[in-house]
């Protein structure tokens, strides 16, 4: 459905996107993951036809984004990083305007807008001025604008930014549902988010693709949550001694004192060692104050996926 072939974007001497290639199949939900400034928005702007690429080619449904731009834009709904809203309009006026520029037939306009407003839950603010809406509502009005005209492809740049946890879950569910009938590209800098919604993840850093895989394969490569952080009272020596007696542990890193009088340890194992660790400490009468899976921050994921798998485990010295 969407083919991105060797796309580069240069701003003066700065290379914002460096030979990025990927394809999205019809009905697939693809996640673009990367820290801020990685080039996610630039890639999305190029696919949506807002800015031209310096090199390369993008096709949507076999149509060239540059050469047949008008046809491509009929097939794409785009939610940019900042929702493109007119603050002096009411939500109703705004949606009507968008439906006009997307050529929704006048007869179907009202029903279509009502249906979308219900789906993104903005019907209760339809008579309010956009300038008076909260960030969460603005984001959802922007999402509604992308959905108007029922385009086959949805490009959503950080769709859950600024929403509260309940709304995030609702929007995630909505996107999952939309993914059944649409081709969706969404970007995020939050790993669990793309994990939850996307069928495939492309990780971008410094304008380059550093990994492209399914969420399952990706988390397997990242240690699959077998790494643990534990907190014990006293000094590290005692705890290290106990952990030596537990089988299946590859490595233990001392992370330092996070709470007064305690010590945090990062335990890397090849299998699930939680019960063994628990019983070992209880036998030694040293209480485990906390035990939690070690979540990698995005920066650490980049370190890991860009590194040789053998070296990967030596490099994590601190956890945020």
């Amino acid at each position: 459905m969407i083919e991105v072939i060797d796309v580069s974007k240069r701003y003066g001497k700065h290379l914002a996107v460096d030979r990025v290639s990927f394809t999205v199949d019809k009905g697939e939900v693809l996640g673009l993951l990367g820290p801020n400034g990685a080039g996610k928005s630039t890639v999305m702007n190029i696919i949506a036809g807002y800015i031209p690429m310096t090199e390369g080619k993008v096709t949507v449904d076999g149509l060239d984004v540059v050469e047949q731009g008008h046809e491509v834009r009929r097939r794409i709904g785009y939610l940019p990083e900042v929702p493109p809203l007119y603050p002096d309009m009411t939500v109703d006026e705004y949606c009507t305007f968008v439906s006009r520029i997307k050529h929704v037939p006048a007869k179907k306009r009202k029903g279509h807008i009502n249906e979308i407003m219900e789906r993104v839950q903005i019907a209760d603010v339809r008579r309010r001025l956009v300038r008076n809406l909260s960030k969460g509502y603005r984001q959802r009005v922007g999402l509604a604008a992308a959905m108007i005209g029922n385009p086959e492809v949805l490009i959503l740049d950080e769709p859950t930014v600024g929403l509260d946890p309940k709304q995030i879950i609702e929007i995630r569910n909505l996107i999952t549902e939309l993914g059944k009938t649409h081709t969706v590209i969404l970007s995020s800098h939050i790993l669990p988010e793309v994990n939850a919604i996307c069928e495939r993840i492309v990780i971008i850093n410094h304008g380059r693709i550093v990994a492209s895989d399914t969420p399952e394969n990706l988390s397997a490569r990242l240690g699959g949550g077998k790494d643990l952080v534990i907190r014990v009272p006293g000094q590290a020596q005692a705890a290290l001694g106990i952990l030596e007696g537990v089988g299946g542990i590859n490595e233990v890193d001392v992370m330092g004192e996070r709470e007064e009088g305690t010590i945090d340890l990062l335990v890397r194992s090849e299998r699930d060692t939680r019960s063994d660790i628990f019983f070992a400490f209880s036998k030694a009468e040293l209480p485990l104050l906390a035990m939690k899976p070690f979540d990698l921050t995005l920066e650490e994921i980049f370190l890991q996926v860009t590194q040789d798998p053998q070296e990967g485990s030596n490099n994590v010295s601190s956890v945020s």
Binding site: R73, P84, D88, H103
Partner: protein, 287 residues
């Protein structure tokens, strides 16, 4: 086009800008109407219109400064440019929205001559002709404002740019009438013009060779004509600047003459400026 037109037309009345334009326009015209017609007991309304042509320099920026710059600053250009509407749709929609506000305001000022008609016989058709000319002059000015709004990045530079451009066009008439008509100064001007074009070509293509070639050819042609037929340069500046002198073309309307040539001039000038706007937007987007 209709969607953009309706959005921007209602936008004028959703914010202050439409009301500001109307009040400033009506205030200035009413002052000149009172001093030029009422207090002086004169029925020559076209003379009043002729004396307030400067009004466009003041009020057109109010009307056009926001049109394109707002889309950029609100980042709504992302919505417009990724929707199935063309630049022609966008530019024409915005242009006609501004022209509509201007037309409504101008229609309100027709109350002045109507109120005069109660006190004597008016040369009705002369005044209608004058107002048509006034309207067309406004249409050209608005087109220039739309052009400048789409090449500037913010509201202030759009407003100042439009003000300056219209002011310069207004001064062209004085400039061309004081510039000597003799051959030599006009030939010098033609040579400078050729150099200017060459520099512009160099700026656009970034190729020194091409710029130099254009300069050499241009100066060569200027020199050749000067050698063979120097009398061609007589009044050269006067004619060249005549093309831009849109305020001058109002004179025939002021005298109550619906000159076809002036109507064609205004319409083609407007069309050319709008065409240029679309081309510039296309180029800015894809480069």
């Amino acid at each position: 086009m209709l969607a953009v037109y309706l959005k921007d037309l209602s936008g004028y009345f959703r914010t202050f800008s439409g009301y500001v334009f109307m009040s400033v326009f009506l205030l200035i015209t009413s002052i000149f109407y009172i001093t030029g017609n009422v207090l002086t007991n004169s029925a020559d309304y076209n003379n009043t219109l002729g004396s307030i042509l400067f009004i466009f320099i003041l009020v057109v920026p109010i009307l056009t400064m926001r049109l394109m710059t707002d889309e950029v600053s609100l980042k709504t250009d992302r919505l417009l440019y990724t929707s199935p509407v063309s630049f022609t749709d966008i530019v024409l929609g915005k242009y006609f929205a501004a022209v509509t506000v201007f037309a409504i305001t101008l229609l309100l000022t027709s109350l002045y001559p109507v109120s005069m008609s109660f006190f004597g016989n008016l040369a009705v058709w002369e005044i209608v002709g004058g107002m048509i000319g006034f309207f067309l002059l406004g249409c050209v000015s608005i087109a220039i404002g739309v052009l400048i709004s789409s090449i500037t990045d913010n509201l202030i530079s759009a407003a100042i740019g439009t003000f300056g451009a219209l002011l310069a066009i207004m001064f062209i008439d004085s400039f061309r009438s004081i510039y000597p008509v003799e051959t030599n100064p006009n030939a010098v001007f033609a040579a400078l013009l050729a150099l200017g074009v060459a520099f512009w070509v160099y700026r656009m293509t970034r190729s020194p060779a091409l710029g130099l070639a254009v300069a050499v050819i241009g100066l060569g042609v200027v020199g050749l004509v000067f050698w063979l037929k120097p009398e061609l340069y007589q009044g050269f500046v006067y004619h060249i600047f005549g093309w831009f002198s849109m305020f001058y073309h109002f004179l025939s309307f002021q005298m109550g003459v619906l000159a076809l040539s002036s109507i064609v001039y205004y319409l083609s000038f407007t069309g050319l400026v709008l065409f240029l706007t679309v081309q510039i937007l296309e180029k800015r987007r894809w480069s």
